[in-house]
Symmetry: C2
Subunit: 438 residues, 2 copies
């Protein structure tokens, strides 16, 4: 039975807190193993990569075979059904258009004191993209990570993907080709992260590493952070649906299950102002589970982490939603727009009954890499800014330094940093002498 809460019950706050505090991930301590793998790659380079790949992925590769060749990628692209290729191309184009609007503007101004100041954005030089192997090897994730990097202007996007038993989904290579990925290596795990961070004879290091992975990959990313930049560490996926009596219970159930089928740790929550809808959705979930291919996973997720919460009004649901800070928030209600305008914490909002979250996973254009585990309270989904950095630029001339410099001298002195004060004062004095001499 799925968890049922009613905001009118006296025990509600306690039940809601327990839901918020639910631990959905077993943290596996793989840190020592990962440290040794990283050390191995740093010391032995390609030889270690080949060794770990034989051991963990069960296939033998020569140094010259670490990279996929253009021919191999051509063959993979040729093996993809035209319909799938067209869908990937539509997704690529829409993701590109959406993210192009995120490219930030440089800024420069000369203020009243004559100080010229502003900033300049530019792309990170090179980025590594980790793509999981096997069943979690999603071509859509390749697009969602690589396209924004290319839109940002990253010159070198390097993909790594393990090929257990030598096998790889050709769609992943096709997506990489469509996204403009520059190099692709058949390696995975902590060894791939180490190769991206430190380089080997074959693989030049990158400056930042993004993309999801298992516990080994996550631990490796944490360890190489500093040497390179990393993106957020993604947790299990989640959806919160706010729905009123106008919502279609079958559609709501389908959306809850689309989330639940990801993995057993996924979380699907419905908050509704309609007790009737609550009942209808609960029944529809059971009915749809009967024919869902991944029913076993979806059932476990729904049973262990799902919830249906009834509230007096969806107004009353907003503070609950902000506390959950869901990765995905669907609002299927009459006043969806007004409610959405008041949401403060969410990764992405899907408005109205005709916007299933899955359309955002694939083809809407917005990014599907979104903050999980309540981190939407303080962070954003993946975007172009994650592949750029801002350099601030400042220029004074003698007159503008004379205008603002004395305050810097004062503050340097009160902070006990006389050297700071002097570096300004030495110029102010020279200007004064020059003026006096003139």
């Amino acid at each position: 039975m799925v968890l049922r809460l009613d905001a009118g019950d006296p025990g509600f706050e306690q039940g809601f807190l327990a839901l918020l505090a639910q631990k959905r991930e077993v943290s596996v301590d793989v840190d020592e193993a990962v440290a040794s793998i990283i050390a191995g790659v740093r010391e032995q380079g390609d030889a270690a990569l080949i060794d770990y790949t034989a051991r963990f992925d069960g296939h033998t590769v020569a140094p010259a075979g670490l990279a996929f060749t253009a021919d191999e990628i051509d063959r993979a692209v040729a093996a993809v059904e035209p319909e799938a290729m067209a869908a990937l191309r539509l997704a690529r184009d829409r993701i590109e258009a959406y993210h192009r609007a995120q490219v930030p503007q440089d800024h420069e101004t000369t203020d009243a004191a004559g100080v010229r100041l502003g900033w300049r954005w530019n792309a990170i030089d090179s980025v590594g993209l980790y793509v999981p192997g096997g069943k979690a090897s999603y071509p859509s994730s390749v697009l969602m990570n690589a396209v924004p990097a290319k839109v940002a202007g990253v010159e070198r996007v390097v993909m790594v993907v393990p090929t257990p038993g030598g096998e790889l989904n050709p769609l992943v290579l096709a997506a990489a080709r469509l996204a403009g990925v520059d190099e692709i290596y058949r390696i995975g795990g902590a060894q791939a992260v180490a190769a991206l961070a430190y380089g080997t004879q074959t693989i030049r290091p990158v400056v930042k590493i993004v993309g999801p992975g298992n516990a080994y990959v996550a631990a490796a990313k944490r360890r190489v952070f500093g040497q390179v930049g990393i993106d957020m560490i993604a947790g299990p996926s989640e959806v919160l649906i706010l729905a009123d009596a106008t919502a279609n219970p079958d559609w709501v159930a389908a959306d809850l299950l689309a989330q639940a089928e990801h993995d057993e740790a996924a979380q699907s929550i419905l908050i509704t102002s309609s007790p009737d809808l609550a009942e209808a959705v609960a029944a529809a979930v059971e009915a749809q589970l009967a024919t869902l291919p991944r029913a076993e996973i979806a059932r476990a997720s729904w049973r262990d982490h799902g919830a249906i919460v009834t509230v007096p009004s969806l107004e009353a649901a907003l503070p609950l939603s902000d506390r959950i800070a869901p990765e995905h928030l669907e609002i299927e209600a009459e006043d969806a727009e007004a409610l959405a305008a008041r949401v403060r914490n969410a990764g992405a909002i899907f408005l109205g009954s005709h916007t299933p979250e899955a359309v955002g996973d694939y083809v809407a254009g917005s990014n599907h890499v979104l903050p999980t585990a309540r981190s939407a309270r303080f962070s954003s989904g993946l975007g172009v800014l994650d592949f750029m950095k801002r350099i601030s630029v400042l220029r004074c001339d003698p007159a503008s330094l004379a205008a603002i410099g004395p305050a810097a001298v004062t503050l340097g002195r009160v902070e006990g940093l006389e050297g700071h004060a002097r570096s300004v004062a030495i110029r102010l004095e020279a200007s004064r002498r020059a003026d006096a001499g003139a």
Copy 2:
């Protein structure tokens, strides 16, 4: 003797690599102690805070005395010299103006397919600002962290600052008042970070924690990450100066020493196309050290981490500068503008001979919290975006879902996520039936 490198020497690349690889920080392993302090605060709340404060800061405080009162802040403000107060006010106003230009725009568009999509930025609900105690208690850092948070629209900015022996620099309270900080607590160390992350009876938790601190504070921030957001972990400060024969050696030396006086682990590097300037700067550094109050610290930094590099031209210095990715980059050269335009990796650029870095530390308006330890390759200085997050917003109607939905169904199926496909297909079928019925 400071390290001297010449780009023309055969051993140059090796020497430069050694300079890049220099480890300037001793990492102290305080993780176990920090874990126990955090657990203490989570279990005992205020009582633990009071206990740790007595133990580590050597003064006794009652729960009611944890927060600074408005009266105490008034008295601190009254104790500050008018000249210092005016300098702080100038700094505050300029920082506010600079950061106001960083407030990002929301975006919304309806594309050719009829899909409405875009994003909305909003402020993080609450932010904790860590301010170190004792000598490193800098009012300028209070402004640099708190003003951008307030410009972003953060409703609740909470400052924590340890008061060893009960003492606090009144300038820190004055800066907090000027920046609009909402609550100030006299606590520090890992216990303060724990209180901000988890809350106590007196202190409500915040959503993100920013600000510099010692090894305990850094370890605590790493540990509470996830529960709350954190900013980057700052390393020792650094400056790189690119200068040609037109630069004033006394000014260059003053700027190198302004950096070196921060702490022994700070780094000051000069790269110059003029061997004469190199000699003159080396001599000027020694001469200025003779009268610098913090000469002992600055001398150790210059001796252990400083460097003077000669290059055939400043053009040739640009790739070296990008590899260093300095926190602060000064360009004191005839063609400073042209050179600056080609810089890819730096926290901030200070252009021309009249822009000492210290003016940026205090009053220029740009932020002085900048990426250290080569992380300018992949990250930016602190800004308004660090206190905001972006929610993506998506809306389809039946027509636009009919346009892009089939591709989502295809991709869901090829990824083996039938539930994803069905959540779209169920709506497409309903629309088709409705159309057929109409």
